[in-house]
């Protein structure tokens, strides 16, 4: 075996994910070697620096032309470094950075035994209310493992939209999912609910990834390669060289169609589109709210990135087969999410159904199959993720004696008690609804215009109708906050540390800026709309 060659790895082009994974491993070492008291500070510092560094690396790569002219396939064909990948990686690192602040917040929960605590369980593995948990609470323990878990999840999300072969796609999916399953189980309050959310998310997520994996196997069987461009060549009927094995399988459309359908199914599950949305409301409600915010924002970005690349790079030859299916999924998500959201009485569940509807709106841009479609989806994802993060950050602040007061009836009259917070939340809701001068409007307009230009007028009409339905329940919450009498035993708004204030403030600023002056960012997304092949 003298001819074994070392692989060529473009370290610089891969630096964003390498930085994040390195920091995650460092975080694990911190857990192992530092004394308990210092871990929190070390973990927050490492996570913040790593994600800021990764963002800087993404910006550096984009400024160096990797987003346009010098787009390349790095790591022996494993990862694409191109416009869509870098744009989404930028969004994901920023969302991750801001989520670190949400995770690190320690002023919301009342101090226990003199130690300030965060919204994560003192000992997640202990029986709720049992002696082991009481012991851990008395000792003032906190679960600082959340930070390395967050970093691993972010690392997986960075790989997911950049994956350029089926192997990396599957590994990235698992690397981003497994830490999220654990994070879901770690709420300090309502622990049974949180554990239930984790079990549901885990079992359904593993089920969906098994489908994705079988799809990978079938597509590999069809094309004899796992690389995206290789499969695309076989799909279009022009493989480089026809091996004897390939000659036997490339005529077999059953492999291609079933494999492609299973892959798309696995990704639509992560996106949370109807009919693969069943897990969304339960998991969003049960998970600790900072985790919900992170998951709702970042997972969606990563999964849409992977879906776009799969449909646009691997399966454009199958366009006439997947387009009608995605039409159906888009319409079902927009209408289903918007209608079911009307009946919700819990803020987190309401936001979950709203995220299902938004998955539908974003899919409308995906179905357009044009460069405009890609850029509009990129812009929408950037705008939407910050609104979501901000909205869930506000949810962490409204509390009563039992922790977060998530029931909508408790939010009555919040606008009279704390006008500033209620106004910010109203801003986020208006952005969700797509009212002009918010980022939601710019995003929806871009997506629907791309869909209309591509001839999908039917989708646009349904989308606008669904937006109108959705606007109804967003406005209803605003009316509830500002025009009803506050209850005597209602929740109070906790004054947070600068961490959460930064998150809410930043999200509000992004929402307004992207709404009032979206052109720069639309141009940015417009330049990033081309996939490398």
């Amino acid at each position: 075996m003298n001819d074994l060659q070392a692989p060529d790895i473009e370290w610089v082009a891969l630096s964003p994910s390498l930085i994040v994974f390195g920091a995650a491993i460092l975080g694990v070492l911190i857990e192992a070697f530092l004394p308990r008291k210092q871990r929190y500070y070390a973990e927050v510092a490492v996570s913040t620096l790593a994600l800021a560094g990764a963002f800087a690396a993404v910006v550096g790569l984009a400024a160096g032309g990797h987003a346009s002219g010098e787009a390349q396939v790095a790591g022996m064909g494993a990862l694409a470094v191109d416009g869509p990948a870098l744009f989404l990686q930028g969004v994901i690192t920023l969302v991750g950075l801001v989520s670190v602040f949400l995770f690190a917040e320690r002023r919301l929960e009342p101090a226990l035994h003199g130690a300030s605590v965060d919204s994560f369980a003192a000992a997640p593995a202990a029986v709720p209310g049992g002696p082991a948990e009481k012991e851990a609470v008395r000792a003032g323990w906190t679960t600082t493992e959340i930070f390395p878990l967050l970093l691993f999840a972010v690392g997986g999300m960075l790989l997911f939209p950049a994956a350029n072969d089926l192997l990396v796609l599957f590994i990235a999916l698992e690397v981003l999912s497994l830490p999220l399953y654990l994070l879901c189980a770690m709420a300090r309050r309502r622990r049974l609910l949180s554990q239930e959310a984790a079990v549901k998310y885990f079992l359904l997520g593993a089920f969906a990834s098994a489908f994705l994996l079988f799809g990978v196997a079938l597509l590999y069987g069809y094309a004899g390669t796992v690389s995206y461009s290789g499969i695309a060549e076989v799909v279009s009927g022009e493989p480089g060289a026809i091996e004897p094995g390939l000659a036997g399988t490339m005529g077999n459309d059953a492999l291609l169609l079933i494999g492609g359908a299973m892959l798309v199914m696995g990704l639509l599950f992560k996106v949370g589109a109807v009919p693969f949305h069943m897990w969304t409301p339960d998991v969003y409600q049960g998970a600790p709210t900072p985790v919900t915010g992170f998951m709702a924002a970042a997972t969606k970005v990563a999964a849409f990135g992977a879906l776009l690349r799969l449909l646009y790079v691997v399966l454009p030859g199958l366009r006439w087969d997947w387009e009608p299916v995605l039409w159906g999924v888009t319409i079902a998500s927009m209408v289903g999410g918007a209608i079911v959201a009307i009946t919700q009485t819990d803020v987190k569940r309401l936001l979950a159904y709203s995220s299902i509807a938004h998955a539908g709106f974003i899919l409308a841009g995906v179905v357009a199959v044009t460069e405009d479609g890609v850029s509009s989806v990129l812009f929408y994802l950037g705008a939407y993720s910050f609104v979501t993060l901000g909205a869930f950050a506000v949810v962490t602040l409204v509390r009563d004696s039992g922790g977060e007061a998530t029931h909508l009836s408790k939010w009555a009259g919040l606008g009279r008690r704390s006008p500033l917070l209620a106004s910010v939340f109203a801003l986020f809701l208006l952005a969700f609804a797509g009212i002009p001068l918010t980022s939601g409007f710019a995003g929806k307009f871009a997506v629907f215009r791309a869909a209309a230009d591509a001839g999908a007028m039917g989708l646009v009409v349904v989308g606008v109708l669904a937006s109108a339905i959705a606007a109804f329940f967003y406005i209803r919450v605003i009316v509830l906050m500002f025009f009803s009498e506050p209850k005597a035993d209602g929740p109070s708004v906790v004054i947070p540390s600068p961490f959460t204030s930064t998150v809410v403030g930043l999200a509000a600023v992004v929402t307004v800026v992207l709404g009032v002056a979206p052109q720069y960012f639309l141009d940015l997304a417009g330049q990033a709309g081309v996939f490398v092949h």
């Binding site: 192997l167 239930e196 549901k200 098994a210 196997a217 094995g245 399988t249």
Partner: protein, 99 residues
């Protein structure tokens, strides 16, 4: 022997696993059925690898084994925690959030 037969076996195993996930009520059994689905995919990968005469599929199968092991660690941790606090591993009992 014709390698296609292994593909039929793998499709059968995958279907069995999927039916198990949908029908069984114990979280551990559901999880084992998911593992069965992953292993069915492995069998398909190795078979295709043999049919195409390249190693991509076998390498993928190794990765899947590692991922499955990691998934067992995370999954059993979650299921055991739930079992401790509820004294039941039934997926039907986990219904605090039903509408």
């Amino acid at each position: 022997m014709n390698p296609e037969n292994y593909l039929y076996l793998s499709a059968l195993l995958f279907t069995l696993g999927a039916c198990g996930v949908l029908l069984r009520r114990n979280a551990i059994v559901v999880f084992m059925c998911v593992e069965l689905m992953l292993n069915a995919a492995n069998l398909a990968l190795v078979t295709f690898s043999r049919m195409h005469g390249n190693l991509d599929g076998q390498i993928l199968a190794f990765f899947v084994m590692v991922v499955a092991a990691a998934e067992v660690v995370v999954g059993l941790a979650i299921i055991v925690t739930v079992y401790r606090s509820r004294h039941s591993a039934s997926v039907d009992d986990a219904s605090l959030m039903k509408l």
